[in-house]
């Protein structure tokens, strides 16, 4: 009996300890997690103690002493005596504030999430591997490491991150590691490349090729040309002002092939499904930037603005930093995981970026010789493929998944005929993310640029994702360049699926960098971009057939046109502009149809709200909720019956094309709902969709009342990167805006950084992002800038000249000494 008691009780305790030492599903191993000595308790932050206290650190592999001064929003101002130390310190403080974010994002890019999250992320990882993210990162690492300045930056940055990681213990690692039950691993330079690949994927990793091929198949070339034109039919205000001369010697443009697209459309019998796990292009992944010349400003110098729109997350996409070395003194935002400043300013220049949205991802139909995938058809012959082994380790499983990725000369095969959840041919991806280059060098050169020539030179190193680089300097220059390596193609090449066996469908080289769309000091006195068409149709090369809808650009350009004596505050107001060009364009026409229709009392009330609306998507207005819902319902009512079928790759005609038809082609056959025996007119569809919109708002938000306020319907929220830890999310955001407004705030996307720079003898700059410098949810600096962002305010950015500058906003000093 006593043996049994002893045996059972010891067994029970061992079982209990074991059960508390391992994770159960999403619940972390409770023992270490709840222990006050090692668990989450240790991640609480004493308000302001972590960020604000002088410190002296002795660190390995530093070359000289570095001084870091922290200001009141937690921005590190780094003063180093050489660039290696500069990036070392940047790596160290970025890791201090954002380690888990950097880890997660590079893991996602590398297809290594399953290693720490288990089997639920295998498909995501497989997709990253198939997309060739690793291949792209490797070729980019090679070219980046071969240039001394970028090599030094990558090595310094890596050493700094590792110096931080090395002094962590299981007690001090960030809370997310404790919750997910894994430990930080050492940083390597290729992880910086993975961050760049991830950005390229976000901004230039989607293709409409399958959707357009389906449409071509069902509608025919003429109708597709009509409904999916290569340039807006109603209105546009391109990045490069209309009339800008193209004074360069054009490269010959590849000739079109007769019936090129029909061949493919016919050869694939069934309709193609969308690529599994591919997300459609969201409106809200775009950006604004602009600059005005001295003639329009009150300061006598140019002023520049930039607000990149991304998914809004906590921690934020951006991290503010000032970098000072004998080479440079630059301030701006960096992407955690990449050394240097991506958007910012220095003593002499300021610059910003928006996405060009060039078509730099094309899909090719591949015909393999047999099931071994060893050879594929090309130019009438069989060509060998290359194999690249990828291994996905899975947490909680002893076997890792081994898969051979097949590479053609176009690029990797991303989908195979006959595989699960996919109906279509073998697809190879030709993608700018696989092109070797040194994007870092562009930012490095911009960080220390002194003038326009430096800016133009810096841009030549950039590969992709192509960006509209806006620029202003102290010598009164303003400029904008749609910049990146842009493939030389025939018109519409890659609008549809391409034939991987036909040499004429290959990319035919590149548009010469000097011929990328650009303008310097245009007579109108301002430059701007909002992801719209780079140029009007007179530009000799094909970049893409569709860009972001033109409304933001039109509004920005109208406002800039009218601006005189502008200041930074005029720009701040424009960044927060909620005026709806879309409503101005289409609402009067739509309301006319309602006016001639008898309406029920509730509809009448909604009609009156719209009629008296100032067309501003402000937070407290009800009209924008009705209009946005209605516009969406109307688009579906017009197109779904003819064009849409479930499970197939599909895209709607552009908003511009739809509005053009409503205004100028009221008798178009597309208004009739072919699923009903009756013959509907435009008036029927407009009225029906109005009722549908009101009904669905009522279902979601109750009868019309303050619950229909735009801020509540839009429901902007900023989620923690895990998307699963609710207590780490922001509180609900109350602001205006919308996808077609300059203030492009939507449910989960929006201005991820707002910056305004007044150039001059002393630059004055303002900016913030909806988050905070610290990535620790317990830090007072975790979301300290959200409240001001929500109100549309900006912080002045503290630009220091020297390490011993005096300023009331400076809180603490760190001295980094070599060990």
């Amino acid at each position: 009996m006593k043996y049994l008691k002893a045996f059972l009780s010891v067994g029970f305790v061992i079982g209990l300890v074991y059960a508390l030492s391992r994770p159960w599903g999403v619940v972390p191993a409770l023992g270490p997690f709840i222990s006050p000595f090692t668990g989450f308790w240790q991640n609480g932050e004493v308000p302001f103690a972590e960020h604000f206290g002088d410190r002296e650190l002795e660190l390995d592999s530093l070359r000289d002493e570095v001084t870091i001064r922290f200001d009141d929003v937690g921005v590190p101002h780094i003063f180093a005596k050489n660039n290696y130390d500069l990036y070392y310190a940047q790596g160290y403080v970025t890791a201090r504030d954002r380690l888990w974010q950097m880890d997660l994002q590079t893991r996602a890019a590398a297809g290594r999430l399953s290693e720490v999250l288990g089997s639920r992320t295998i498909e995501m990882d497989r997709k990253a591997r198939r997309m060739g993210m690793g291949y792209g990162a490797e070729v980019n690492l090679e070219s980046t490491m071969s240039y001394p300045a970028s090599r030094e930056a990558l090595l310094g940055y890596t050493a700094g991150i590792n110096a931080y990681i090395d002094q962590l213990s299981s007690r001090t690692i960030p809370i997310e590691y404790k919750l997910l039950g894994y430990k930080p691993e050492r940083w390597t330079p290729i992880k910086c490349m993975y961050m760049l690949e991830q950005m390229t994927l976000t901004l230039a990793g989607r293709a409409d090729d399958l959707a357009m091929t389906n449409l071509l198949k069902s509608l025919g070339q003429d109708t597709v040309n009509d409904l999916y034109p290569d340039y807006p039919k109603l209105q546009e205000s391109p990045v490069i002002p209309v009339g800008t001369p193209w004074d360069f010697i054009r490269k010959p443009i590849p000739a079109s092939i007769e019936g090129e697209n029909e061949v493919l459309a016919d050869s694939t019998e069934e309709k193609l499904s969308a690529i599994p796990l591919s997300e459609p292009m969201v409106e809200g992944l775009g950006s604004n930037n602009w600059a005005i010349a001295a003639g329009k400003s009150a300061t006598g110098y140019p002023i520049l603005s930039n607000d990149p729109h991304l998914e809004l997350t906590l921690p934020s996409s951006w991290y503010k930093v000032q970098l000072h070395s004998p080479d440079m003194n630059v301030y701006g935002v960096s992407l955690p995981g990449i050394p240097g400043v991506v958007i910012g300013f220095n003593q002499n220049v300021a610059w910003g970026v928006t996405n060009v949205d060039a078509d730099v991802l094309d899909l090719y139909k591949i015909q393999f010789r047999d099931a071994t995938h060893a050879e594929y058809r090309y130019n009438g012959q069989w060509r060998k493929t290359r194999k690249r082994m990828e291994m996905i380790a899975v947490k909680g499983s002893s076997d890792s998944i081994q898969e051979a990725m097949i590479y053609t000369h176009h690029g990797p095969v991303i989908n195979y005929e006959g595989e699960k959840d996919y109906n279509g041919p073998n697809l190879a991806a030709r993608w700018i993310g696989h092109e070797p280059g040194n994007n870092f060098r562009t930012f490095y050169e911009l960080n220390k640029a002194r003038n326009y020539d430096d800016y133009r030179q810096a841009l030549t190193y950039y590969v992709g994702p192509a960006q509209n680089f806006v620029f202003a300097d102290n010598s009164q220059n303003i400029a904008i360049t749609a910049n990146g390596k842009l493939p030389l193609k025939r018109q519409d090449q890659g609008k549809f699926l391409l034939d991987g066996s036909r040499p004429a469908d290959d990319w035919q080289g590149w548009i010469p960098a000097a011929q990328n769309p650009a303008v310097k000091n245009p007579p109108r006195g301002y430059v701007s971009s909002a992801n719209q068409h780079s140029t009007d149709p007179t530009y000799p090369y094909y970049i893409n057939w569709r860009f972001a809808p033109p409304e933001r650009a039109i509004r920005i350009n109208e406002r800039l046109e009218a601006m005189t004596q502008a200041t930074a505050d005029s720009f701040r107001v424009l960044q927060n502009d909620n005026y709806s060009i879309q409503a101005r364009t289409i609402l009067p026409t739509l309301l006319d149809y309602l006016r001639t229709t008898p309406l029920a009392p509730k509809q009448k009330a909604a009609f009156q709200v719209l009629e008296s609306w100032d067309k501003v998507n402000s937070a407290g207005a009800i009209a924008p909720s009705i209009f946005e819902e209605w516009a969406g319902a109307l688009g579906k009512a017009i197109w779904d019956d003819e064009l849409y079928s479930k499970g197939q790759a599909f895209r709607y005609p552009t908003r511009d094309r739809t509005m053009f038809m409503i205004i100028n082609q009221p008798d178009a056959r597309w208004f009739d709902n072919v699923k009903t025996p009756a013959k509907e007119t435009i008036s029927d569809i407009v009225v029906q969709s109005f009722r549908t919109a009101l009904d669905s708002l009522t279902v979601r938000h109750g009868p019309m009342s303050p619950t229909w306020e735009w801020a509540k319907v839009k429901d902007t929220e900023i989620l923690h990167l895990s998307r699963a830890l609710k207590p780490f999310n922001s509180l609900p955001i109350r602001n205006g805006g919308g996808s077609s407004m300059v203030n492009a705030t939507t449910h989960h996307h929006g201005p991820s950084w707002r910056m305004v720079v007044e150039l001059g003898p002393e630059p004055r700059a303002y900016g913030l992002y909806p988050g905070g410098q610290s990535g620790n949810p317990a830090s007072p600096l975790y979301m300290s800038m959200i409240a001001k962002w929500e109100k549309g305010e900006l912080n002045e950015l503290l630009y220091l000249k020297a390490a011993d500058d005096k300023n009331d906003r400076l809180q603490s000093t760190w001295t980094l000494k070599k060990n």
Binding site: K2, Y3, K5, A6, S9, V10, F12, V13, L16, V17, L20, S21, L30, G31, P32, I34, S35, P36, F37, T38, G39, F40, W41, Q42, N43, G44, E45, V46, P47, I175, L725, K726, P727, F728, P777, A778, S779, P780
Partner: protein, 122 residues
Amino acid sequence: MRPVINYFIILAATALLQLVLPWWIIAVVPFAVCMWRSSHPDMAFLVSLAAVSTVWLAYATFMHRTTEGSMSDRIAELFSLPSGMALMFSVTLLGGIVAGFAGLAGYYVRQLFVREQSVYKF
């Protein structure tokens, strides 16, 4: 008197050893102490529970207070508990129970030897 001394031995040893060793030392210490010098199963359980609970409650309270609940309140929400305080008591209880059962196991293992000793004596 013996239980009180045991309480302080466990308290001091777990407090110190947890600074360097993993969390499961809160089971090892009560087990060892009770195997060494406990005389009653109920006391072994209660003393171990009380000693580790004291340490955890004190340190958790200190961490919770000095950080103004900045992390503990959020984790409480994650575990659907009303507040960081509620979390603190739940955590303390759980740590205490682990220690209590370990102490009890220590007592039963001690009994294996104690009887043999008595037989030998008489």
